[in-house]
Amino acid sequence: MRAVVIGGGLAGSCAALELAARGAEVALVSAGPGSTALSGGTLDVAAASPLRRGGLPLADAADGRPLAPLRRLLVAHGNAAHPYAALLRGRSAALEVEEARAALDAWLAPSGLRVVGSVDETRWLADVRGAVRAADLAQSGSGEGDLASAEEIALVDVPGLAGFDARPALRMLAAELASIGLSRTLRLATLELPAGLAEHAAAPARLARRLEDPAAQAALVPAAARLGAPRRLLLFPPVLGLERVDRVLAWAADATGCRVAELVGAPPLALAGYRLDRALSAALARAGVEEFAGRVASIEEDAGRAAAVRAEGGERLALDALVLATGRFVGGGLLERDGRLAEALLELPLYDLAGRRVDGVRPRRLVRRDYEGEQPLFAAGVRTDAQLRPLAADSKPRLTNAFVAGDLLGGFDPARDRTGLGVALLSGRRAGIEAAKC
């Protein structure tokens, strides 16, 4: 069975890996990184979703215990078109998520990247600005930085590092912890880079790359040793390696003598997404998925089925199953065509959160004045059936052997919901599983 996946982010990669695991011959066409590569280190399923009453986590009415994050989310989206409603209906949500986590963890582990956490446990993670978010799943690196897990927390200041100021981050962190009600000792620890490394501080990606080099690590040991203290959690800016974060983390823990983790990234300092993207690429290669770089020019159809994909380079890829994981604007799955909103490849109808049809409308008509409020333009996506087949305007599957995963799915606003990577992970696997049945 031959499958083609369009889009190489978390959703498309998971679909391709599931297909390969089920014996399909998989080709993945990707025009380049999308929103996956821009993520900061968390893989939010539900914990970061902003469902709070008066700033405190919600409590279960019956017994006053905080509602587990996923249940909170399902409560809020009980009747909405959020992809979770279809993905997790009739199944034990927590189990489904744990299965997905374990699968992704297994795929990424050979690259040194792990997926830690669980949907029933909330970790409190700090980012490079000192802001704190609840997280359930996270990449290793930032995942180990649960603020609740240590008595003393020290932010590591790296003088001259572009994109990170430790002092204001520390102040912000102190205030955030106070708001949450987590009382912790906070410290600032300064890591003076030796001459050969200091010049890279202005280009964090280069510094991260150099830190993977054993010679650089050796030169840094004396300075690193001064950072450690008993019962302390050291939070570094996210420059602990460009790809092999496991090795650099291990070295740092060894050199400092205490627990280490990374702060969650934020532009311009957000390498975790890049690591995830690279690790997914490596996993695809190991699974024998054939990767084609470039855009898809067209999809050939035949009697209600997708028959082949034509790449811009001219290749024609015949297929038995198709997965569309092209994302939204960053990924290129949605775009403005002739002045109007459109889905890029199949002209699928697009819907906003209220169920209104929004393809063919000028983008300007789909935005609202209130930045923080609902924006139909940024909640637009494709409607699917329970098997993730995209629906045509008549609510029937557009093609019997095509499936959609990731941000291209409608029914949610990834920036406000904060469930983007959770949806990508769960829908990517599901699309792959369903596609494998073709």
């Binding site: 929103s35 821009l38 900061g40 902003p50 469902l51 709070r52 009453r53 008066g54 700033g55 919600l58 996923l70 249940r71 399902l74 409560v75 809020a76 009980g78 927590a94 980012d127 490079v128 600005r129 000192g130 802001a131 704190v132 978010r133 609840a134 003088p159 001259g160 572009a162 994109g163 100021d165 002092r167 204001p168 981050a169 102040r171 912000m172 102190a174 205030a175 955030e176 708001s179 200091a198 501080a201 202005a202 532009p267 311009p268 939204r328 604007f329 002045g339 000028r362 983008p363 300007r364 935005v367 209130d370 930045y371 923080e372 333009l377 940024f378 990834p414 920036a415 406000r416 983007g420």
Partner: protein, 562 residues
Amino acid sequence: MSRGLRVQVLVVGGGINGAGIARDLALRGVSCALVERRELGSGTSWASSGMIHGGLRYLQKDPEVTLHSCVDSGAIQRIAPHLVFRIPFLMPVFPDDPIGPELVEIGLEMYDRYQPFKNGRPHTRLRREEALRLEPALSPRVECAFTLDEWGVDAARLTAANALDAAERGARISTHTEVVELSREGGSGRVTGARVRDRLTGESWRIDADLTLNATGPWAPRLAALAGTSVRLRPAKGIHLVFERRVSNLAIYARGIDGRDMFTFPHEQNSMAGTTDDDFYGDLDRIDVTEDEIAYVMQAMERSIPSIRRHRVIHTTQGVRPTLYGFGQSEDELSRDYEVIDHGAEGAPGFFTIAGGKLAAYRLMAEDASDRLCASLGVREPCRTATTPLPGGEGALDVEALARRFRVAPAAVVRLGFRHGLRSARVLAPAEGRPTPPRTVCACEPVLDAEVAHAARVEGARTLGDCVFRARLGVGACQGASCAGQAAGLLADALDWPAERCAAELSAFAAERWRAAAPALGGRHLAAFEIHRHVFLGARGFAAEAASRPEDPAVQAEDPTP
């Protein structure tokens, strides 16, 4: 808590006119205070085309206006050479244009006589092929073309420089401060100052002044009413579209469907297309850009540059001109002249308003207004603003030397120099001797952390939004997604902000960028705002989240079967 301040002149309004007048008065030794409701130059001044042009179109009726505009443009170049940059213009002539090339050339030959006053060059006349060689994107329908030049200016920095100079000479400048009420003397109705309120701290105090000047631009009628007087304006809205980067190094004339002249011109890092001129009856604090306006501008631009729609528009500017009232003419025909009004005859002696005018004439207007005020005060000092350099304008900056001394990229020093001139060394000075050199905060300019810190510690910037005007933070491709967080941290350090303040500032900043960008959202800019929302909404911390969502009604829904 109340404190009092006693000055000779209270200037209300911190746009280019208010700041220019405060500077003029300060240079004459007159004590003054200036209050501005938002940030210096953030109103009409910011929304202007940012050009100190010579008034080419007044040649038809008022060549004296042209003469004085050109002379004053020259003066501004002398006192602030770092803030101005030359913009050559290309004026294409198409077969269906109402005015033929010969008449156009006569007009330009007339203008040539005035060019020397503002270091302008004489025009050239190009044949079709020559014009297309100079600007390949020009419409092939062009018959012939002419070149001339004007000078562009960073209006916000020009305003800030005037205010800075005034402050250094003793003036008291307060931003984010509004007038709550004007103080009146019982019997005579004389205006003796105002009660003002700091909008950020809530603190209020009294300013006693011999004279009060209303320099609030289009808001002038509102303030005048507080004194029981009236100012009649015919407010006119103007918008620009801002492109992600320069689409050409030449400014190109484009004629609107109604025959109006507009241009796409390079300005600082970007190109701008505009402007419009429409009677405005709406809310001055909530000026929106409409689809029609954008369509009108783009239609005009397309006639001169057929490929213009391919370029990415990243935001818009919008403002309202405080045009003097005139009945019966179209907006373009109205005078750009100005008036200094003495409200004594209306029963409010001691209260003056300056209305009308244009950015290019600010210095002249300020001189005139200051002359009037000084006459009233019995002060006999002459005006020195045309010959005294503005801060930073005292001489040319050695970019490479500064770059080497402070270990920053020359490209960063170049941009710093455009905003601070010779004062750039002062901006970078705190970083000297530190183990690490200044870092870039905003890649689009670039803006260095030293400049943001300087804006807060030295120049009196008080909010993240202020840095947009002071340092052009976040006005490029990313609209703040990559730089606002870090800048907020720097300001928090410099101004001792608690975390909630930081979060509120970021929220307000993001909303303001959205407000300006949303009307023109489309094409390749959609992805930028997908990222923008992830940064400002998706990555918000706990405190920011709690502040913005006090009660979530969705929680009331029933718990579905897991």
